[in-house]
């Protein structure tokens, strides 16, 4: 019952953060701006065209990264697994680097080319890891993990090579993208991202029972009725698509996917029935808060949100870890 109450509290805090954060920023926006649906005032335009879409994207990205981190930590039985363990982000980074140095147009038929190329890179990395894992018999998590690490290093080397041969501006743009940031205007990105996040989240929610059993042992999972191969493939594809969707819009925002599931495990326990919604809500609110700090702390200059997530999340996690009892293991 206590765990259910904590989950409700996380839900209420996330809702509060979602409605409060769009009003925080270098330009003050009053509550009356909500009524300006026709965008007739500056405050209305700031609220509906910049702040609200940005908060939505931060919440979606945080929820997705946290949910993927949670699922991969359970599947790999490894507390250090993150949404980027499978090398998807390095694929997206390579796609972005190729776009930046090849001077392609900014948009084709209304679609951002940098988003398309980074998404193509992410899917390429995903297919490569999947192919390598399938090539080795059994679709084992160890092979998947190693394939992810190899693809990560391989793509990172190509990015370094491209950076070495790029000019200063191109190199700066690549580094800036790699830090991860949320820069959106309007709701188009929100709708595009929502499809990836909602689709993946529903799949992972359906596998909550399997994730619980996978956390214990593969042997226990099989003998309780889990089709291990099918579940691993489904989780791999669901997390890959979600991560590809997020990274292609926001870049690789680190730390949320690692830390949010661990914090929630300490707060609501390891049962994925509670852990999945708690991780998504906490990750969403956490990234929303971090993004608000990133755009306000040195306003008008914006700091990449990835810097804030690690700076805030790290000490908070250590505090929670030291406070937790010895009975609570992370995984």
């Amino acid at each position: 019952m206590k765990k259910d109450r904590v989950l409700i509290l996380i839900f209420l805090l996330a809702i509060f953060a979602f409605f409060a954060l769009p009003f925080v920023g270098s330009t003050s926006v009053s509550v009356s701006a909500i009524k300006d649906f026709r965008l007739e005032t500056v405050q209305g335009r700031i609220f509906y065209q910049i702040r609200l879409p940005r908060t939505c994207v931060a919440f979606l990205a945080g929820a997705a990264l946290s949910c993927c981190g949670m699922a991969l930590q359970a599947m790999f039985k490894n507390p250090l697994a993150t949404p980027f363990t499978l090398g998807i982000s390095s694929g997206a980074a390579l796609g972005t680097a190729i776009y930046i140095i090849s001077a392609l147009p900014a948009a084709i038929m209304g679609f951002s080319v940098i988003t398309i190329s980074s998404f193509a890179g992410a899917i390429g990395a995903c297919l490569l890891v999947y192919g390598l894992t399938r090539a080795a018999k059994g679709f084992s998590v160890a092979t998947m993990l190693l394939a992810g690490v190899v693809v990560n290093f391989f793509f990172s080397s190509i990015i370094l090579f491209l950076q070495y041969h790029s000019n200063f501006t191109e190199s700066f743009r690549i580094i800036h993208w790699l830090m991860g940031s949320i820069e959106v205007a309007g709701f188009k990105t929100v709708f595009n991202m929502f499809i990836f996040v909602a689709g993946g989240a529903v799949i992972i929610w359906r596998l909550r029972g399997e994730l619980n059993l996978l956390t214990i042992s593969d042997e226990i999972a099989i003998t309780r009725g889990v089709n291990l191969q099918r579940v691993r493939k489904t989780l791999f594809l669901a997390t890959s698509i979600m991560v590809a969707g997020v990274v292609s819009f926001c870049g690789p925002i680190g730390f949320v996917g690692l830390i949010a599931p661990h914090i929630c495990r300490l707060l609501v326990g390891a049962d994925h029935k509670r852990l999945a919604p708690a991780s998504m809500l906490f990750g969403a609110a956490f990234l929303g808060v971090c993004d608000t700090i990133a755009r306000t702390i040195m306003a008008p200059i914006e700091i990449p949100v990835g810097v804030i997530t690690a700076l805030l999340g790290g000490p908070f996690f250590v505090w929670l870890l030291l406070k937790g009892s010895s009975e609570k293991s992370l995984l």
Binding site: R206, L207, G209, N212, L213, T215, I216, S217, E219, I220, I222, T223, R224, G225, V226, N227, L228, R265, G269, A270, D271, E327, K328, S329, L330, L331
Partner: protein
């Protein structure tokens, strides 16, 4: 006539070029208490894992409740076979109750939730195995004996017809060994559950089984009634060693005693 719940025919298994199981054939009747004995590396645990599809077989056929094992979906199979692992230590952050509740997984669909009926079954399994007192404790804090009871409670909550037990009393002291065996007997008699136990303890196997199958180098070396195995000719064939025998003071059953080192 007793119904056959598991039928193994000419089962062969090869792992990494090593032949683990060779031409293994036998049947298990519903409600039977079967013990599988044999020396280390004889293939006992592997055979148990083949029955629950943890390991795929190379050749031969396994029939479970009249249907080929390969035709079972894993969830469907879990409704018939429950597996109790070898005194495993789980570094999993779950409470005892959560772990036992997970055994209801084969009976739930992706969108269904735990019902009052599921809770009642779990409570019954925990009462039967006498673990209700520490239901809220974390799995990581349990002793070997407690953990084994929890594993058996989960198998009971799974409501399967057959319980496959991999060395259920290994690493336990005499009291807990005895408690677990009495508990398994109770489950067999009260619920009619078939028990298939892999064990190194021949005396326990003789005392608490209806039948014994012995493996040697992946082959069936003996298949018969418990009292028949207490013969040095048979035991020497299985373990390549001779033993001494004595009689149980209460039941008169023949029990095995190892030779003392000659001084």
């Amino acid at each position: 006539m007793t119904e056959t719940i598991i039928k193994i025919e000419k089962l062969c298994l090869n792992i990494g070029g090593t032949q683990i199981l060779r031409d293994v054939s036998f049947e298990i009747a519903a409600g039977q208490r079967l013990s599988i004995i044999g020396a280390n590396g004889a293939g006992k645990t592997t055979l148990l894992k083949c029955l629950d599809k943890i390991i795929g077989i190379c050749d031969g056929k396994i029939t479970v409740a009249g249907k080929n094992l390969n035709q079972y979906r894993q969830k469907e199979l879990a409704k018939i076979l429950a597996y109790v692992p070898q005194s495993a230590y789980f570094n999993a952050p779950f409470s005892v109750q959560e772990f036992v509740m997970m055994a209801r997984f084969p009976h739930l669909s992706s969108f269904s939730v735990v019902t009052a009926e599921d809770k009642k079954i779990v409570a019954g399994a925990m009462a039967l195995t006498e673990i209700a007192d520490f239901a809220s404790r974390a799995l990581t804090t349990l002793s070997g004996g407690e953990l084994q009871r929890v594993n058996i409670a989960a198998a009971v909550a799974q409501q399967s017809k057959v319980m496959l037990l991999d060395e259920p009393t290994t690493f336990l002291d005499y009291k807990h060994q005895s408690d677990i065996q009495i508990l398994l007997d109770k489950i067999n008699s009260e619920k009619g559950t078939t028990t298939v136990s892999v064990t190194h303890d021949i005396n326990t196997a003789v005392m608490f089984s209806d039948r014994i199958v012995a493996l040697k180098s992946g082959r069936v070396a003996f298949d018969g009634r418990p009292e028949e195995v207490m013969d040095n000719k048979i035991l020497n064939d299985i373990y390549e060693k001779e033993f001494l025998f004595s009689n149980h003071p209460q039941t008169g059953q023949k029990l095995l005693i190892p030779h003392q080192r000659e001084i």
